[in-house]
């Protein structure tokens, strides 16, 4: 079981590494998003008070206004006034979503190209087929997150002044849990699907709501209540929130209670869906 899983995981990773173009595309997309969205929005210009207005205020208040606005922004954007930093942190979770979706889709290709039959006729545990898909997706996600993180840093990601190695590890753990759960979820969905068209339609259907009905790109506080409810059920919100907390770790310290909630949700999500995924995938692999 272990030997097979490793062999199959290596196949997936090798295939991925041998397609530099694919790898490049997987990086280009988040970079474009970060560049276009992240840099286009200058938050402080939105909430500045016009000077003629400011001058009518009592002078002791005048001095407090910028601080007040700054505080307001930090409140809304989880501790930063830089939108690029806000959304780059969220982007890391979106990258995990894309990779998980891609892995889910690859099962359909394997089925279509007969590769799945080759595995099914071999004397290997059925679970190793699924496990290898999950593992390779997690590994790819982690590598991509590292690369995107590096790129975001180069583009001006403003990490908190107390950001350290432990925070970085925290980011990786959050991303790992999200990847585990999401890949299992997608595998469970795609395992029985036979056609490319269907799987692409399904992926598109899930992709947008999962990305936008979360706090990855926009703060939830601004959303209508129903959307807030959706976002509060979306694992991406929790991963993005945890990642953001770690990245913005400042001298003021981490809000451990909030991070604990994030991780509780993520661990639950990863556990439940990897179990469901493996069960569904195994029945999906049963012969007809």
């Amino acid at each position: 079981m272990i030997g097979e899983t490793i062999a199959l995981t290596r196949r997936e990773i090798k295939k991925w590494l041998k397609n530099p173009f694919l790898l490049f595309m997987m990086l280009v997309q988040p970079v474009i998003w970060m560049g276009l969205f992240g840099k286009a929005l200058n938050l402080s210009s939105f909430v500045s008070v016009p000077p003629e207005f400011l001058s009518q205020l009592p002078s002791e208040l005048q001095a407090q206004v910028p601080d007040l606005l700054d505080q307001m922004l930090r409140e809304t954007f989880g501790g930063t006034t830089d939108y690029f930093t806000f959304m780059a942190a969220g982007m890391l979770s979106v990258v995990v979503l894309f990779t998980a979706m891609f892995s889910g889709m690859s099962v359909v290709w394997d089925r279509r190209f007969g590769f799945l039959n080759k595995l099914l006729v071999a004397p290997i545990a059925r679970g190793s087929i699924v496990l290898a898909k999950v593992l390779s997706s997690v590994i790819r996600s982690m590598i991509q997150v590292l690369l995107i993180f590096g790129l975001a840093f180069a583009f001006g990601l403003q990490v908190g002044n107390a950001f350290g190695v432990l925070d970085f590890l925290g980011v990786l753990v959050a991303v790992f849990l999200l990847s585990l759960g999401l890949t299992s979820l997608f595998l469970a969905v795609t395992m029985r699907i036979k056609s490319h068209e269907t799987v692409i339609a399904v992926a598109n259907l899930l992709n947008l709501p999962l990305t936008f009905a979360s706090n990855a790109l926009f703060p939830v506080g601004q959303m209508p209540p129903w959307l807030q409810t959706v976002a509060s059920l979306n694992p991406i919100s929790y991963a993005a929130d945890a990642v953001r907390s770690f990245i913005l770790h400042s001298n003021a310290g981490l809000d451990m209670a909030k991070i604990a909630v994030d991780f509780q949700f993520l661990i639950g999500f990863a556990l439940i869906f990897s179990l469901i995924g493996i069960l569904v995938a195994r029945t999906g692999l049963r012969k007809g």
């Binding site: 030997g3 097979e4 490793i6 062999a7 199959l8 290596r10 196949r11 090798k14 295939k15 041998k18 397609n19 190209f113 007969g114 590769f115 039959n117 080759k118 595995l119 099914l120 006729v121 071999a122 004397p123 290997i124 012969k287 007809g288």
Partner: protein, 331 residues
């Protein structure tokens, strides 16, 4: 000693009976062929024997193991070279072979030896470290074959092993398959819709049509069973009574109309032909084409299925399959 035994093996897909109560045995060390047109049920049979599909009805054993109840054990002793090419384009030939050896739990050092052996056997030693993407169709097919051998299977299933290969490569493959049997004593079950292939390679052939075995014997016996030669004649506007007269001639055994042509089965073709021609001229029938056909598998096939396999090859097979489907739908 038989290695494969099926008993009324049946597979239904909805209302379609793809394999219909098929019973046969394959002896140890035999090359056994399933000959039939596209859609006859060959791949479905192989899929059941290699545990990819469960039978709807009936049963089968491979190496004495039930394909349904002992599928895990069956997988250890069978090798499958599937009809469609499934080697991974992104990997090199070597990497594909290594992966296969891991899937069959062949220890690494043993695997290296066997890969070397198998790759040279199929003539891919020089291309081993190239990406499969750069391989020709024939090379892929040969790599597929090499993969099927990595664990020294007791029974090797070859689903249309030479489909789409050019004539030279096909002959090389035949050679190779024979050597596998002769040198490694592997029992081989192959499917094909090429007459020559079945004729040259197989010890015994089952002709399968519409999911049923319509004939099963050695190629020679099948040919002998035709009981003589066939005169293929085209002439126009024969009445039923004229055909009856033809049938009563001493050397004529049977007259069948297939397409435009009349197939007249006779015991001694060379002698019968002039007499038949004479008779036809007396009846004032205008003769179009004449040919004398000595017994061949083509003839056997025609005899048992009422169609020429030539008509069903390649693209026409696809059309033919659709027509058959429509016929079935119409009732």
């Amino acid at each position: 000693m038989y290695v494969i035994k099926t008993d009324k093996l049946t597979k239904r897909f909805g209302s379609l009976v793809a394999v219909d109560h098929v019973s046969f045995t394959v002896e140890e060390g035999e090359i056994f062929g399933f000959l039939g047109p596209n859609g006859a049920g060959k791949t479905t049979t192989i899929n059941m024997l290699t545990t990819l599909l469960n039978p709807t009805e009936g049963s089968a054993t491979v190496g004495g193991l039930d394909v349904e109840k002992q599928d895990g054990k069956v997988r250890k002793i069978v090798g499958l070279v599937p009809q469609d090419i499934t080697v991974d384009d992104d990997l090199t030939g070597m990497e594909n072979m290594m992966l296969q050896s891991r899937l069959y739990h062949v220890p690494k050092d043993v695997a290296r030896e066997r890969i070397k052996e198998a790759m040279s056997l199929v003539g891919l030693t020089d291309a081993a470290n190239r990406r499969v993407e750069t391989y020709s169709g024939g090379m892929r097919k040969r790599l597929e074959l090499a993969e099927g051998l990595i664990h020294y299977p007791k029974v090797l299933f070859l689903d249309e092993p030479t489909l789409g290969l050019d004539v030279q490569t096909r002959v090389v493959m035949w050679d190779y398959i024979k050597r596998l049997r002769d040198e490694h004593k592997i029992t081989i079950f192959l499917t094909t819709h090429y007459m020559e292939e079945a004729d040259v390679l197989c010890d015994r052939i089952a002709i399968i049509d519409h999911g049923k075995i319509v004939a099963l014997d050695t190629p020679q016996n099948l040919k002998d069973s035709l009981g003589g030669d066939v005169i293929e004649l085209e002439f126009d506007e024969a009445t039923d009574s004229q055909i009856e007269t033809l049938k009563t001639m001493p050397m004529v055994k049977d007259v069948k109309k297939i397409g435009e042509a009349y197939m007249i089965k006779v015991s001694k073709g060379e002698k019968a032909l002039p007499e038949i021609m004479e008779n036809l001229l007396k009846m004032k029938l205008r003769i179009g084409k004449v040919s004398l056909v000595k017994p061949s598998l083509d003839q056997v096939y025609l005899e048992y299925t009422g169609r020429s396999l030539r008509e069903t090859r390649g693209e026409t097979g696809e059309i033919w399959r659709r027509m058959r489907h429509m016929r079935r739908v119409r009732g």
